[in-house]
Symmetry: C2
Subunit: 404 residues, 2 copies
């Protein structure tokens, strides 16, 4: 018994049948004596359909009007979900982002939540004993204009709301049953984790395990919101995401992740003088191009190479930008390789165990996979590989750490 925030993604509410299923999950939680606030995404492809409509009218529409348009998607799914709950005979009210008190900054299309004024929701919960359905992904800025949080923002809405309401639990319902040691669709023997730490989840999320949006995990960590990732299609416990995890058995890592949205750029023949790296990466930073792994070769003769990875969609833009400044930076040419993939292992215990990275490299050696770049942090090791080696590499690493 407590206050539970539940979040349902687009696939979970994609059609009438699924909405009715979500209504059952919500009302079952309510029936057990809990107060329930559910945060919903737009149904299935609604957001994409709206974007397509906008593109037809004006491919360069302002973000302010895009947000005005896109915010209707969640409003529709929330109203329909409330109706499905009414049909089951429970008290319910749906609220838009602004009705639910989501105050954001004015960065249209990727706004940040500043605060959540929970008075309305509290009143609905306490006075009306209602189930409250809230639109994810959106809020209101100081000009009283509608903003959206960007893709994946509904997870963040749910966690922010759980934090503001001091909820006992924030359940993220999705189309997978939890967080796995590797992608169960591609890796044999992948196992669902009972628990995982915020830090591990952060690394897994940013390494391409698309279960939870990274912003939401950061927020959950900051406000110590107990998260649970579980499936709206299977009536089973999912994976708990917490500050500290008690592991029954000592596992060195909690998962293997693969990120295909990556490209490697190499500046070849860079003059060996100070300040070049600064020039290159501040240029990219100004254009909002995030750089991940950076590797600088030891200089041969009087030149060296600088390699780095960016998101695959940013590769052309980054190359064009740097070529524009070729003279002033001073390099021979740029190599762009989009047929690469990043594979990472993540584990909070890794920092105490020097052998983990070596064990990973050993698995790759045994599988005859060549490593192009390496990057490490306290709780993860990432390697850049040829795309064709990706599946074999993940399977080999997973077998090494999780095999019987």
């Amino acid at each position: 018994m407590g206050l539970i925030v539940q979040k349902f993604g687009g696939t979970s509410v994609a059609n009438t049948e699924r909405l009715q299923n979500v209504a059952r999950i919500i009302t079952e939680t309510y029936r057990q004596g809990n107060q329930v606030v559910a945060v919903l995404s737009a149904q299935g492809d609604t957001t994409d359909d709206l974007i397509e409509k906008a593109r037809e009218v004006n491919p360069r529409a302002s973000k302010r009007e895009m947000d005005m348009l896109l915010s209707t998607g969640e409003q529709i799914s929330c109203a329909l979900c409330a109706m499905a709950i009414e049909a089951l005979g429970f008290p319910v009210v749906s609220l838009t982002g602004w009705q639910a008190g989501f105050q954001t900054n004015s960065n249209y299309s990727s706004a940040k939540i500043k605060t959540v004024h929970t008075e309305r929701i509290q009143a609905e919960l306490d006075r009306n004993h209602s189930i409250v359905i809230v639109t994810g992904f959106q809020g209101l800025n100081k000009y009283d204009d509608i903003t959206t949080l960007g893709r994946g923002g509904s997870d963040t809405s749910a966690v922010a709301l759980a934090a503001a309401l001091k909820a006992d639990l924030c359940q993220i319902y999705t189309d997978v049953e939890g967080v796995y040691t590797a992608d169960p669709r591609h890796v044999k023997g992948a196992r669902k984790l009972e628990e995982i730490t915020f830090d591990e989840m952060l690394e897994l999320a940013s390494q391409g395990a698309q279960v939870l949006h990274n912003r939401s995990v950061e927020l959950a960590k900051k406000y110590r919101v107990n998260l649970e990732v579980l499936s709206s299609f299977a009536n089973k416990p999912g994976t708990k995401v917490k500050e500290v995890v008690k592991r029954m058995e000592k596992t060195q890592i909690s998962g293997v992740a693969k990120d295909k949205n990556v490209a490697r750029l190499a500046l070849v023949g860079v003059e060996d003088k100070p300040g070049i790296a600064y020039r290159v990466f501040s240029l990219l930073g100004k254009e909002d191009i995030n750089v991940d792994i950076i590797l600088q070769s030891i200089g041969r003769d009087d030149t060296k190479d600088i390699s780095f990875t960016v998101k695959r969609d940013d590769a052309e833009k980054a190359a064009d930008l740097l070529n524009e400044y070729k003279e002033s930076i001073g390099f021979d040419h740029i190599d762009v390789d989009k047929e690469v993939v990043k594979v990472s292992i993540v584990g909070a215990g890794m920092v105490d165990d020097a052998g983990v990275a070596a064990k990973m490299f050993g698995a790759l050696y045994d599988a005859d996979v060549n490593i192009q770049m390496i990057s490490t942090s306290e709780i993860k090791v990432s390697v850049l590989l040829d795309e064709n080696d990706a599946n074999a590499a993940v399977q080999a690493i997973h077998d090494k750490f999780f095999g019987e």
Copy 2:
């Protein structure tokens, strides 16, 4: 040069091409030096599609949630229209009903506008020199919940806004070119009127000339808002609707209207005692069944008949209701005739000209059309006819009054 409110209905914004056409009309008005506020309906069948979705989920959904759902329709069309205007290079902002300051009562699905707080719109017009696009059909009640005004509410939104902003003109763009002396699709020689009075428009609107929503005309009359009805598809002047009209030539009537949404009920063999009519019509009133023409026969022996018309959709409900109270009212049986039609002539000058009604009846006699019931007011004469006679009757009356 002035402040012009323009309203565009669902067919005018049904697709990308039409939205772009509407954007051209709005920006042309702005380019001529006017401040422009445009009120839009939802695109084409959007509202019906949303209603269908709701019905699938819950056929008895609450009106509160229906309004939450349906209000997205105008938000979508307004955002898209703003994008189309951006594409033409003009400053523009779209506003929802609540952003535009529409305060309504809490009668979900058929809310009444209480006031319009125009500060935001005025600021957008005066400070930002923006074209303002506003969602029709919706507002906010005192609980901060979204309400809708019911079908045809966008006309009312536009007129209320024109009144609140003290606009110089309120143009209602629709798919017909103005108000005609009769339905131009069915009546040969039907002519577009240059001008018409509010009262005449009211009678024509309620008599089935579906050009303007009646509530909007009443509101325009009350606040003396200059209206113009015109087509978004033809670049021509429409019909002006005003308090007083100067007629170049003296026409006795301004139009002939036909209303097929009507049924005649007859209580046969009613006991000839006081209070029966009161019983019957208060029963119907309690169930929100509007009665239009009433005719009570002179009693033969000790019984009489009471005939009256209701909307065709209400006929069964009315008959069932009265049959339930058959004993206490005291009648023999009920006759229901749904194959009737009401034909009306409307004209502000009629009251001064006793011959108008006679001229109408003469036209019907010449056309061999039998009159079932007659009802008159200061500015109209309505007759109830067999449905099969409707077109011939309207043509005959129109020829009589407007023929060369």
